[in-house]
Amino acid sequence: MPRIVRGVLITALVVVVLIWLESGFGASPGFQTVLPDAAWRQLVLFAMVNVVIALSLNVINGMAGQFSIGHAGFVGIGAYTGALVAGHLHVRLGSGDPQFANSFIVMPLVLLASGTIAALFGLLVGLPSLRLRGDYLAIVTLGFAEIFRLVIATAQTGGTAEGSVAKFLASLGGQNGYAGPEGNGVPQYAGPFWIFGSVIVATLIAWRIKFSGWGRALRALREDEIAASAVGVDPTRYKVVSFVIAAAGAGVAGGLFASMHDGSPTVQPDSFTFVQSFDAITMVILGGSGSVSGAIVGGVFVTVTVKLIEQLQGLESIQAFRADHPSIDLNALRMVVYAAVLIGLMILRPEGLFGEREIFRRKRPKKGGGDPDNNAAQKSQSTQESTQDSENSTPADKESTESASSKQATSETLTTAEGTAS
């Protein structure tokens, strides 16, 4: 089956399944059929948003080896942008309950806006700090995320604000969070269709970046920047573009987060603190930096533990225990454990769970284009030839026969290449 036909069929199938999850084709939505418990559904959606965060961070942290520790800042920018766009569009569409049909108008614009704005900020942050070799990105991203949060959280709310910027910031609700233009909550358009869809697209993008020349160049930069620039890879360009891609991915995740089904109706600055950035790093490192499947596993795992602790804190026995020991902060305990695990992992197994490997991965990229079968046959043949050559020859004259046979091989492939090209 030709690649294009197969691609179209798979896409169609995926879209149908996603629509079924969301709408159920008249019957009850598939997502509710699969997971009747609302808490579980929320957990799954939340995990998927985190997977998008982990996948995007993995591009810059894992593949390019540049340490960004303010990823939550970009998620936050995306979330606020998305909430603004969704909120205003929702009013235009006549408010009421968010309809699935309307989400095809709202969500594309939300995700586009979130991704673009976050990408612009990514460019702003990345350009000065990635020009330099060294760890400046770490400190600049940390500061940037913190500033973003502080600017929003400390914005003067109430009627005192003057100037368009101050008024705009005030409209975002400060510490209490943004609840849409009418103050009755951000409309929740992002259901399973959009969230699962985004995860699939994000996975595809991450995968295709990794297994392309671009990804190879990024990994080469990570290993040795000087050697990479000596073979024509421009470090600044590759790093900045990758950072912008990562920021855009985080922005999209933020857009999803802001208007997620069963999510919080407000977007609050406290959802984008350093703790969230650190969680994102944990997702990437735990799974294995550079591994796409590792980022997915890491994202799911971290979300589950975070939610588990939230659930535990609701239990009566835990609440009684906390009443007796007010100093025991389960979240602080979780962070201590995470940090300890991370340090231990770095010391014992710095490559993470999967290393750079993937769960489903053919050993060598299958070659497409032209005439793959013919290529392979020719290759194995010439490999055999040279093997025989080197077996029969003494070490001293091995070099000469080798270069002779390779010369022959070179000219052969050159002619065949010309043949196929014309």
Partner: protein, 295 residues
């Protein structure tokens, strides 16, 4: 007059930041590592100072308790710094010694960040997240002068330590080339430990001085001051001791001056803007030397 006052206050505030910056810059100079945990050593030092000062008998003789508590807190913080290095960083160095393994750059950064998160949350567990008031040891009108004088004396002492003693020479040798220093018979492990001890002691002193002027202490206090201090080190030229001092004072003054404007909340925005401008114009920092990378 207002401006002059703000500048004076800024210099005092900045000299305290500079004390913390020195720890960052020394560790970076020697290991090329951003020691994220440094800001938490700063916080821990302040807590040690609080408990020890109270423990030494605040009511009977506040002067003695203050000085002894501060010195003891510095020693404890120094030990903590050395412990952090031994637990989190030394094993990485030992392993990556032979070959360059994957992510050599990211691995120590993750460890450092992990150490920072660990210490901060440990402090929350041990001391709870609430703000504690710090005993008012210094007369409020003289606090700035004392902070400033102490900071200047310590910096002069540090300058002497680095450029006038055998240990300082060893430290500088290690910062140029760890392997060569080892071959010359310098016990590099010990030099690195001592660098952490020195930096951590300064951080604890900075923490206590900070608390004396702000009169409260809490587990997350390291985040803001730590970040500002690191930015100060980068602006001044990371790896350079006078650079860290200059950067610290600069940030202190900027901070106090912004308080005069209606945008006092945007202090850190301005500081980071300055950082980005410096990175664009003079990547090696105001007093830093452009490093020559051997190829």
């Amino acid at each position: 007059m207002k401006i002059l006052n703000a500048i004076i206050a800024g210099v005092a505030q900045g000299s305290m930041i500079a004390l913390v910056s020195l720890g960052y810059t020394m560790v970076y100079g020697i290991l090329k590592l951003i020691n994220f945990a440094h800001s938490e050593v700063f916080m821990m030092g302040a807590f040690f100072g609080l408990f020890l000062t109270v423990g030494f008998g605040l009511d009977t003789s506040p002067m003695f308790a203050g000085v002894a508590g501060t010195l003891a807190a510095m020693v404890l913080a120094g030990l903590l710094g050395a412990l952090v290095e031994k637990v989190a960083y030394a094993p990485l160095r030992a392993r990556s010694g032979g070959r360059s393994n994957t992510n050599t750059r990211i691995t120590p950064l993750v460890t450092a960040l992990g150490m920072s998160v660990l210490l901060q949350n440990l402090a929350q567990l041990l001391f709870t997240a609430r703000y504690r008031s710090y005993p008012q040891l210094l007369p409020i009108e003289n606090a700035r002068t004392i902070v400033f004088v102490v900071a200047v004396v310590v910096m002069i002492a540090l300058q002497f330590l680095v450029y006038g003693t055998w240990f300082g020479k060893a430290m500088r040798a290690v910062s140029v080339n760890v392997e060569a220093a080892r071959l010359m018979g310098i016990r590099t492990g010990r030099v690195i430990s001592m660098t952490f001890v020195t930096g951590s002691m300064l951080a604890a002193l900075g923490g206590i001085l900070y608390c004396l002027s702000q009169s409260q202490v809490y587990p997350t206090m390291g985040v803001v001051i730590g970040t500002r201090s690191f930015v100060a080190a980068v602006i001044g030229g990371i790896g350079s001791i006078p650079g860290a001092v200059l950067g610290g004072v600069l940030i202190g003054v900027i901070g106090e001056l912004t308080k005069l404007t209606p945008y006092s909340g945007l202090q850190d925005v301005i500081i980071f803007t300055v950082l980005i401008v410096v990175l664009l114009v003079r990547p090696s920092g105001l007093l830093g030397k452009a490093g020559i990378e051997k190829v």
